[in-house]
Symmetry: C2
Subunit: 323 residues, 2 copies
C-alpha cells in the first residue's frame, strides 16, 4: 500500500508558500490543498474568496510577488474609476483579480458550488493540485475587538488589524459541513500526511478546524498531522499573528502555537532560531529553516515537513510508509 496522498490546510500568503513547495515534491493528483473560507465575503455585490484565490494564483505561478498579494501583471483601472464615481475603494481589487470574482459570483448565482468553481478555475489556469475550499457552506470569521464585533475584512483590511482582538467567532461553523472530498481524503488509506501550513492559527487554520466534524475527522485520521510554526523568533513573518496572540493573552512564540494545536498534531516543525524553545514543545519538534524566501526553500521545507510526518507514521498508524 503506497501512502502518497498529502492534505495541506492553508490560509493565504504564508500557507501558499508551503503549498507551492509541496506541489513540487508531491504528484499533483496526490496533493489536496484545503483553503480557509472564513475570510470570504461579499463586496460590491461580488463573492470574494481571498485564501482560495491566493493559493490558486501561487500554484499557477500568477501571484504578485512585488505586492505580496493579488495577481501578477495586475492593473488598477477599475479601482481608480470606482473611486472617481464614489464607490467603496478600501478593499483593493485589481482588474485581473476582478475577473475571478465576477465569474465566481455569476456561477454561484447559477447554482454551482464554490468548490466546483475553484476546481474549474484551477484547471483552466494550469494548477495541478486541487485547491478545495474547506466547506461549500457559509462560514465567516468575526472578531470581538475593543471596537466591538467586526466582520473579518473590516478588521483585516479596512482597519488594518489595528483593533485589539478579544475573541473570535466562526459564524456558520456549527452547521457548515466539511467538503465530502476532504473527509474522504482524511479517511483514505493512501494518506501520508496532513500538513497544517504556517498560517495564522486564529484566522486561517482554526476556521478550517471549526467546520463541524473537522476536528473529529482529523483525530480519527490514521496519518500523522504535522504543523509548521508561523512564528519565528517571537514574530510573525507576515500579518497579525504575534499581535493577536498577545491580545488573546498568549506569549507570541513557536511553542505557544504548538500548545494551541497540541490535541491535533503528531509532529511540529519550527525554526532553528527558536531552538531554545524546542525542549518544551510537545509533540517533539523538528527544527528547520522555516522562512521561505526562495522557491528552493519552499521545496526544502516541504521535504522536512513530510519527513517529520513519515517519522511519526509508525507511532501513529504503525503501517509502512513511502520514504
Amino acid at each position: 500500500m503506497s501512502r502518497e496522498l498529502v492534505v495541506a490546510l492553508s490560509g493565504g500568503i504564508g500557507g501558499a508558500k508551503l503549498a507551492l513547495g509541496l506541489s513540487r515534491i508531491v504528484q499533483p493528483e496526490n496533493l489536496l490543498v484545503v483553503a480557509n473560507v472564513g475570510d470570504d465575503f461579499e463586496h460590491l455585490g461580488l463573492r470574494i474568496s481571498p485564501d482560495a484565490d491566493t493559493l490558486m494564483y501561487t500554484l499557477a505561478g500568477l501571484d504578485n510577488t512585488k505586492l505580496g498579494w493579488g495577481r501578477r501583471d495586475e492593473t488598477w483601472s477599475f479601482m481608480e474609476t470606482l473611486a472617481s464615481i464614489g464607490g467603496e475603494d478600501w478593499f483593493r481589487l485589481g482588474d485581473r483579480d476582478l475577473a475571478v470574482h465576477i465569474e465566481r459570483t455569476r456561477r454561484l448565482q447559477g447554482g454551482e458550488t464554490l468548490s466546483a468553481i475553484a476546481a474549474d478555475f484551477c484547471h483552466r489556469l494550469g494548477v495541478g493540485p486541487r485547491v478545495l475550499p474547506a466547506t461549500d457552506d457559509r462560514l465567516r470569521t468575526r472578531l470581538r475587538t475593543d471596537e466591538g464585533w467586526l466582520d473579518f475584512q473590516d478588521y483585516f483590511v479596512r482597519l488594518q488589524c489595528r483593533p485589539a482582538v478579544r475573541e473570535l467567532h466562526f459564524e456558520g461553523a456549527e452547521t457548515a459541513r466539511p467538503h465530502p472530498d476532504l473527509l474522504a481524503a482524511l479517511r483514505d488509506e493512501r494518506l501520508r500526511a496532513v500538513v497544517i501550513c504556517p498560517s495564522n492559527p486564529f484566522i486561517s487554520v482554526e476556521p478550517i478546524l471549526a467546520v463541524a466534524g473537522m476536528r473529529q475527522a482529523l483525530s480519527a485520521c490514521a496519518a500523522p498531522v504535522v504543523a509548521v510554526s508561523p512564528i519565528i523568533g517571537g514574530r510573525a513573518v507576515k500579518g497579525p499573528t504575534a499581535k493577536m496572540m498577545r491580545e488573546l493573552g498568549m506569549t507570541p512564540s513557536a511553542a505557544a502555537v504548538a500548545e494551541r494545536y497540541r490535541d491535533l498534531i503528531d509532529g511540529y516543525v519550527m525554526d532553528m532560531e527558536d531552538a531554545e524553545e524546542a525542549a518544551r514543545v510537545r509533540p517533539k519538534a523538528t527544527l528547520a529553516q522555516t522562512l521561505m524566501t526562495s522557491l528552493a526553500e519552499r521545496e526544502e521545507l516541504a521535504r522536512v515537513v513530510l519527513a517529520a510526518a513519515d517519522a511519526h507514521a509508525y507511532t501513529k498508524g504503525g503501517r509502512d510508509i513511502v520514504a
Copy 2:
C-alpha cells in the same frame, strides 16, 4: 417668458455627438438628454446601460475616440483574464467601464433608481447637462430575425447585426412609465425644443417613444419637435440603420426616416448631400452638414437644429421665442 429648455432624445454614439454639440450652446441646467434604455441588459450579473453610459462618457469628455465606443484610456486586463478562466467574452467590457457597471448594479440592488444613479455618476464625472434614462422601469428591445427572436445585445454585439430583422418589440414598454422629470419637461412652458438625435430610429429612438404615454406627451408638447436624419446618401454614418430599413421593407433614405417620424415632428434636418430628396419630405426639411467629425461641426449642427425648432415655434405654439 424665456424658452430655453431643450430635451434631446438619444441613443448612443451618433446621438451623443449632437448631445455634446447641444451642451456647448445650451446652459447645462437647461439641457435634458433622454437616453434609450432598450439596449440595457444583464450580463455577468451586472446591469449594463450602454446608451446612458455613452452619453455620460461623451459629455464628460471621457469617450474613447479611437475605438468609437467605451471609455478613454481604457485597459483590458479584466476581459483578458475572464477569457482565461472560461468566462463569456463576446461583450467587451473595459476595466474602467466595468467600475460603472459594478457600482450601478450594487446601487440598484440597494434600491436606488437607474435615473438617480445616472445623475450621481454624471455629477461626479463633471457632466453638466442631465442624462436621464427614458424610464426607470424595465424595457428591453427584442428583435424578430430570420434566426428567431433575439435579445438586443445578442443581435447587436454577439451576432454583429448579421441576422435580418423582421420585427421589433419593446418588452415592458406597455407598463413602463416615462420618468416624471421627462414628462414635466415636455409640459414645461420654458421648453424651446425637443430634438430627436441622429440615432437609429428602430433601436434607439423608438424604444424611447414606446414607453407608455411618451407619444401622447410629445404630441401634447407645445414646443417644436425636430428630428435629425441618421441617414446620409442612403447610408448610416455608423451602425445597422440602413440595413435594418431594407430588411423592414423601406428604402434607406433621409426621406424615409422623416416619414417614419411624420406624426411626431415639426421640423426635420437632413444632409445637404440628400438635397434632391428634400422636396418630398414633410414637414419641410432644413438642409445642413449632418456628418459631425469635429467638435465645431457638432456645435454647428446643434445651432442649426435649434434654429429649425425656433422657426417652427410660431406655427406650433404661437408664442415668443428666444433667438
